[in-house]
Subunit: 338 residues, 2 copies
């Protein structure tokens, strides 16, 4: 597979993006990378490593969308930015997938603008893996569309089910609707409306409402929600995990015995941090677009970038966009015969 | 002060409710309690303790709203339930405040039905304390109204500020709008609309949007949100905290050295659990009603109940409902002169 990487995107670019690219090359056989960004900067970073020159191509661009840029303005005015060019390569079919750790808002805008929606898709969604007691589940939308209609959530359920079926090999994945109560009729207008649609949708295995206190128990494969709530839950989870670890740290400092205990527990605490660390999951993917756009976390290190490239490679291998089109076609046909 | 307690409400009633009542009597001088519920059950529990008989009165009711009951139906059909009677005592003015650990949905319905809104209040809100790095902050609404208009959030900000000013003694408390981005214009329709109103509201100290990754840093005193999002964030926080502690437990079991480490760390880990434990904060309060209704957590132990009674006592002492009326009057006057 041939994958384009926005070499200038993310808090730790270009050092970690290039390091991650090199790591991906050594782990994935036959991978070809197109590194997009300022040529001289990329070459300077590349000079630190040994690699097979035929496996890397550089596309020179002169602009960079910064993390602090206004997303929409940046995408529209910085036409020669590394992010825009990375996505254009995916659009043209020059590459099989694209990866960026850059400005999230800009990547949402640029991905939609460049790749366009698959015919029949009401709104694209950002889907991400989330840890639970049994391993992982998929959550979507986590930030593409803040104001959702119930119909959007119904499509998210179908696209998310396909993802989990193909990429995690789970048959008839269980779909839960994220809500503030488990009974039918609970929640706000959006969740009440979505419940009605999901209940009647025979293309998915809907198991009902799921509360965020219970969602980590590992019974659900696909968690469906609107982009505002999904993003809020993701950020709350990150905030609380950090908060709990910070009070552990504060408490530990209060006694030498605690410090000794913490020393013994260190590998275990590291394991926990790893489990909560989003860079382990290889980023998020935009579902519903005519092309593959993978978002690595803004503060990704080389490991985060490498894992995002691996995910992009996997999606490209199975031609995931074509698989999604089949799902959406069923939905569109259904709508038309209604 | 004279406080009514729903003796039958909550997962651990009546054992823990009565135990908590007795503990409150010993901690709060001059407190009088009215225990509402099945007389024989309450008396059987009371017989376990020594207490001054003049400080407790029993109001006999024959029905109980169960945790699994449908909220609205239960409140309307179980007229002689302990929860309904507890709130009626607050309405009549027989007591200064009421406390229940019963069915949340039913308590929301019953509180609004019995106590009614203060004139000018668009929607009442449930406000609760939430831990942060510097101590605590107030969050509202955490579940009274799932579908909010921007105007509701603007009033929540005023009511919440009054709460923090009077009860925590913080001057000009900082109000943050819970959102998925910090810049103006971020979020969904509700938060964008609320931002406009909060920015112009001279009665509060609005500091802008706050993301849930940052909200625990302790810079904000009052966190304003709609009831759906607030409830979601609360449940996510609870779920993640439990999840992190559960992976700590699982990791610990993997090695004898870890187990020894955990043993040394035990008091520190206990401290963390306590910090995340909602029963320490004395429950939530309904703001905007003509009377004081305090909600203790459904699975409160005696400590949770005692703390909720203490909070109720404090609110009654300062005549909080009258204070809120002043705030709302300003808002109503402003509206009328516009």
């Amino acid at each position: 597979m041939r994958i384009a990487l926005d070499a200038m995107g993310g808090d730790n670019a270009p050092v970690e993006t290039i390091k991650g690219a090199i790591a991906a090359l050594s782990e994935i056989e036959k991978l070809q990378l197109v590194l997009v960004g300022k040529k001289e900067v990329i070459e300077a970073e590349l000079s630190k490593y040994k690699y097979s020159k035929e496996r890397i191509e550089i596309v020179d661009t002169r602009e960079v969308i910064e993390m602090t840029d206004d997303p929409v303005t940046a995408v529209k005015t910085k036409k020669d930015s590394s992010m825009n060019r990375t996505l254009e390569l995916a659009k043209e079919g020059t590459v099989d997938a694209s990866v960026s750790a850059g400005n999230t808002g800009a990547l949402i805008t640029a991905s939609q603008l460049k790749l366009k929606r698959i015919k029949g898709v009401l709104r694209p969604a950002i889907a991400t893996m989330f840890p639970n007691k049994k391993g992982h589940m998929l959550m979507l939308d986590v930030g593409a569309t803040a104001d959702c209609k119930p119909e959007f959530l119904n499509q998210y359920a179908m696209m998310g089910s396909k993802y989990v079926e193909i990429l995690l090999g789970r048959k008839e994945p269980k779909v839960g609707l994220l809500n503030i109560g488990t009974e039918e009729g609970k929640g706000n207008e959006v969740t009440r409306g979505a419940y009605e649609l999901l209940k009647e949708n025979k293309a998915i295995n809907f198991v009902g409402n799921v509360e965020s206190t219970e969602v980590m128990n590992g019974e659900i494969d696909v968690v469906v929600t609107d982009g505002f709530t999904g993003n809020m839950v993701l950020k709350t989870a990150e905030g609380i995990a950090k908060f709990v670890l910070s009070i552990i740290k504060t408490e530990i400092k209060k006694s030498v015995i605690y410090m000794l205990g913490a020393l013994l527990l260190r590998p275990a605490l590291k394991m926990i941090k790893l489990k909560m660390d989003s860079s382990e999951y290889g980023g998020a993917i935009f579902l519903g677009l005519n092309g593959l756009s993978i978002k690595a976390h803004g503060n990704s290190d080389s490991n985060g970038i490498k894992n995002a490239i691996k995910v992009a490679n996997r999606f490209a291998e199975i031609n995931f966009v074509e698989e999604l089109k089949k799902v959406i076609d069923i939905d569109v046909d259904k709508e038309e015969t209604n």
